[in-house]
Symmetry: C2
Subunit: 341 residues, 2 copies
DNA sequence: TCTAAAATTGAAAACGGTTTGGCTATTTGT
DNA sequence: ACAAATAGCCAAACCGTTTTCAATTTTAGA
């Protein structure tokens, strides 16, 4: 059913019908009601592609998905979905071919030029992120999930990784731990740098020298958690506590400790960052996992909200949100045992 | 840069330029080359919305995302992305408001009518799935990931859940287990029914009566895995083996067994279904987890491929793929211990 | 009651491409 | 050498809306 045909059925011009449905003020209330009723009855809905062509709006916000198949991703998108379901906006997932730098820029450029999305959400930015510079230059509205130090105005939402990890680390120090290992995320990303910084600051303020032998970084997988933890624990002077980057990493750390006969919370303490997944909860681990916690889903919802604000004209300069992170202490952290050496 | 302007620059008519870029045969090779070069040089690319309006193609395939934030989802999409990155097609994620039946139908109906997608992938169908009937009725191309018994022609790709679970269960029986618990997925979905069926058939062919006290189903979370396993193990006549629906469920089962001082692989055997996640691998668990395995990512890639075939005219009736599932035995399964009763 | 202003409605021009049908030059076949 | 076929290109119609601008009807003011 096309507008023209529908308009004829209702006995009005396409113009008026269009206005009635789009809620313009210059159409009488009675007419609007009549049109609305007829639309439902006859099952008319405007052709999206025509609307988009005419208005220039794409009705979608874009998210570029890397190859790594991050488990955070689904949760973030579920959050976005929660907000977007009420709007006439959907999520466009753009597959990224290779982690190749140049290709990625090309991808963003094409994405912008193709006008398939009204805005883009950029994930895990680096301090000097080319994508941000590019999007700004191209005039595409975008929001950064995470932070960048780049000297280009942009909207962002981030969690306070530095403070979170600083508090977590300080807490371990307060418990008497002096040899603390750190398993961080992908090197290069700002969030990893912030966590590193929080970690170092906590140590420093207690006069402890960070030991590069006990600091590692990589993808958030149980495998890496295990490998790193295991290798650290097998060192001559092993750590008594771990700060882990994710729930999966924590699973690996638990496994490593167990495999060496160490009891978590007594022989070794662990704090991890928890993005709050419905399928894997820190509280349920054995022993329950102390964690810095911030809901990925909530972030997705809020990011969607902010993007919508951006699209309705709010300045990117006003959109900066730094979310505090909870520190939830459970059984995986305990006082440091006396050194046996 | 618009077509008209670009055509003028190249010194050709819009018609010829359009044809040259779209690869129509009635344009000479030299002209085509010239146009292609100029397009790159001048940075011309057709307005997607105009193309879509004219051709009626949306250039996207739709996936409806439920609220549950399934962790499989991201992996499946990553797989799709692998295939789609080469095409001019992207993934449209449609947020689903409520798990409300009527609303979901309404959502699909609107999605089809809005012409935002060229095809839809339907997940976790039920034996008599209304969505399939609806999409068929509306004439929207779609592919079902999973299976349905509904009497409507449709393309599908599924893994052989029944055989997988049957083999897994049979293997446990061969090891001497007689009391085997089953923790299945969301009731209602065909895959869960197939698994149930495989489970029962294995028992039956060995003359074992399934015990409803040791069968449960629900979301794939570690929490439910733990709860069910724990309650089963605390029964007067506890199971000696578990068939678990997912990796997360298995984590919960491991936890439950440990919490009761039972050793996995010796006191209790566990087999789970593994969708192959990069961040949580069965091989790395302690003890390593025996599993029925099938790559979710590969399924995503193949589904994308099949949808593209569907769109280029292949009949849905020809598209039926049933993938075999590997059974990988590791340390979590072992011979049943003699009953202590 | 009559006119100016306000409230409604419509006709037609975009939006930016693709594609039908027609029109010239070339080839090709005999 | 000539008719028929083929290549290569273009003008114009069309896809289904939104929106400008103008026309018409009501309402308000004097």
């Amino acid at each position: 059913m096309k507008l023209k045909e529908f308009a004829k059925q209702v006995g009005l011009s396409p113009t008026t019908v269009s206005r009635a449905l789009s809620g313009y003020p210059e159409v009488s209330e009675t007419t609007r009601a009549r049109v609305a009723e007829a639309a439902v009855r006859l099952g008319y809905s405007p052709n999206v592609n025509a609307v988009r062509l005419k208005t220039g709006r794409a009705g979608a916000i874009g998210v570029v998905m890397g190859r790594a198949g991050e488990f955070h991703f689904a949760e973030f998108m579920a959050g976005m979905a929660e907000r977007l379901v009420a709007e006439e906006t959907d999520i466009l997932v753009i597959p990224m071919a290779d982690p190749n730098q140049e290709d990625e820029m090309q991808l963003y450029r094409r994405l912008v030029e193709s006008r398939r999305v009204d805005a883009i959400i950029v994930h895990s930015p680096k301090p000097n992120d080319e994508r941000i510079a590019l999007l700004h230059e191209l005039g595409m509205p975008f929001l950064v999930h995470g932070r960048s130090a780049i000297d280009v105005p942009h909207a962002w939402l981030d969690i306070d990784n530095e403070t979170a990890i600083k508090r977590a680390t300080s807490h371990l120090i307060d418990l008497g731990h002096r040899r603390i290992a750190m398993i961080n995320g992908r090197p290069g990303a700002t969030y990893a740098l912030h966590r590193d910084s929080g970690f170092r600051k906590a140590l420093q303020s207690h006069g402890i020298e960070p030991d590069p032998q006990m600091m590692a970084s990589g993808n958030f997988t149980d495998e890496l958690g295990f490998r790193f933890a295991r290798s650290f624990l097998e060192q001559p002077n092993p750590p008594t506590a771990f700060v882990a980057g994710s729930m999966m990493t924590a699973l690996g750390v638990y496994r490593a400790a167990r495999s060496l006969g160490l009891q978590i919370g007594r022989d070794v303490s662990v704090i991890a960052h928890d993005d709050v997944f419905p399928y894997l909860t820190a509280d349920n681990m054995v022993p329950s996992l102390s964690a810095t916690r911030s809901s990925m889903r909530a972030a997705g919802t809020r990011c969607a909200d902010l993007v919508l604000q951006l699209l309705s004209g709010r300045s990117p300069l006003e959109i900066h949100e730094l979310w505090p992170v909870e520190l939830i202490l459970r059984e995986s952290t305990g006082p440091a045992r006396q050194s046996t050496s």
